[in-house]
Symmetry: C2
Subunit: 248 residues, 2 copies
Amino acid sequence: PGPGGAKAPVLAGVRSIIAVASGKGGVGKSTTAVNLALGLAAAGHRVGLLDADIYGPSMPRMMGISGRPTSSDGQTLDAMENYGIKVMSMGFMVDEETPMIWRGPMVQSALEQMMRDVNWGELDVMVVDMPPGTGDAQLTMAQRVPLTGAVIVSTPQDIALLDARKGLNMFRKVDVPVFGLVENMSYFTCPKCGERSEIFSHGGARREAARLGMDFLGEIPLVMEIRETSDGGHPIVVSKPASEHAKV
Amino acid sequence: PGPGGAKAPVLAGVRSIIAVASGKGGVGKSTTAVNLALGLAAAGHRVGLLDADIYGPSMPRMMGISGRPTSSDGQTLDAMENYGIKVMSMGFMVDEETPMIWRGPMVQSALEQMMRDVNWGELDVMVVDMPPGTGDAQLTMAQRVPLTGAVIVSTPQDIALLDARKGLNMFRKVDVPVFGLVENMSYFTCPKCGERSEIFSHGGARREAARLGMDFLGEIPLVMEIRETSDGGHPIVVSKPASEHAKV
Ligand SMILES: Nc1ncnc2c1ncn2[C@@H]1O[C@H](COP(=O)(O)OP(=O)(O)O)[C@@H](O)[C@H]1O
Ligand SMILES: Nc1ncnc2c1ncn2[C@@H]1O[C@H](COP(=O)(O)OP(=O)(O)O)[C@@H](O)[C@H]1O
Ligand SMILES: [Zn+2]
């Protein structure tokens, strides 16, 4: 622990730390976090990717990394790496099928360890993939880490926006700036006849951003290839709106 | 508190209590829980529906109920009601946009209050809509409530099955029987040309059920009308496989 006891801020050396969040699960936070990290690395930044979803870590799969972390100094764990990005996740610590049946305090200490006791090397940007909800993991990140800002991901329908809004209001309450909203699974185009279906509705996040006076960072359609590549560990960098990268 | 202090089991009078769960968010747990509750009520059971998702409650919207609960005895809250089903959710207690920025112990006490201090009336079946993850809410329900069993919902792709498997293994660890697996968003049929797209893959949950020697309770396709009706508070009872209702 640094000066001031165990509670010195973690990740102090990293220039900017971006949380990719949403109150709702399954909207594409992990997919977006991976794409953002890849985009930033392609732009020449030294990037780390922290999987803050203790109960449902997706990064090992999505970044195509298997195996356990090792330690070169006997004290800290070396971050895993692929595509030029440093990665750490609870998914590297246990077998894929093992549930982490932990209450809040364990989640908090696991997150602190992944930030403090991991040798991340020199980083310009850390992208943090947040779990759904507004509980222990979100509070720990907001209170312990100098977050530069958050990107909120939502699907277009009201039910998802309801939870995205809760996530957004949480960041406002704990004084973390919100860079803007991304609308994912925005529409589906039939591969055979080109018919466009708005399965999860369309345009909800754009209207919400306008209502709240926030940046709308773009819409990503529901594309089978995104699921195939991201779940298979070969993420394609979705042509992210330039404004997102410009933020950092 | 009953005999044995504050820790007497809650919901003791209810004949069967079914948790609808999955480790993954956004796979259709709430939609499935509502459909299951409606199907059971249509079959003549007296049904309660508990929204155990403290951070992202969906039941007020999906059951088309607004307003705050009231108390007729000054001690317990009266459950809300629609479609002949009794409902309780944190969503009735706060404004829709307000995030519950709570750590684990608060989640636990909110869940206990919703079970103990609510006047549910005489119930045959309680359906519990679980949040994503394997943390405080799941542990509280598994430890404090005599759960009859759990229905696990997943979408077909590996990334979702990974988390569904964690949820399933958790129930096994805490000795709660698992009735079986439901595959939701199983495929999409183009409304114009009938082309079938397996956006989130297809058949993963059926294979998983076979691998684990469990019942496969059926597949539900990705249908726009399901999203429109369930998010709009007019749930259609999706023709649920009869075997699910036979379980109770
Ligand atoms: N735009 C998209 N098109 C198709 N599939 C997507 C898209 N975005 C995400 N997915 C898929 O949806 C699932 C859920 O996404 P994920 O990133 O895990 O969401 P979250 O992190 O919010 O739970 C994954 O299987 C992912 O590959
Ligand atoms: N089979 C389906 N077809 C179309 N939309 C669906 C289907 N199942 C769920 N949805 C929609 O997907 C979104 C997520 O479902 P929800 O029940 O909230 O999932 P969870 O409770 O797992 O987070 C909701 O908007 C819901 O209406
Ligand atoms: Zn078509």
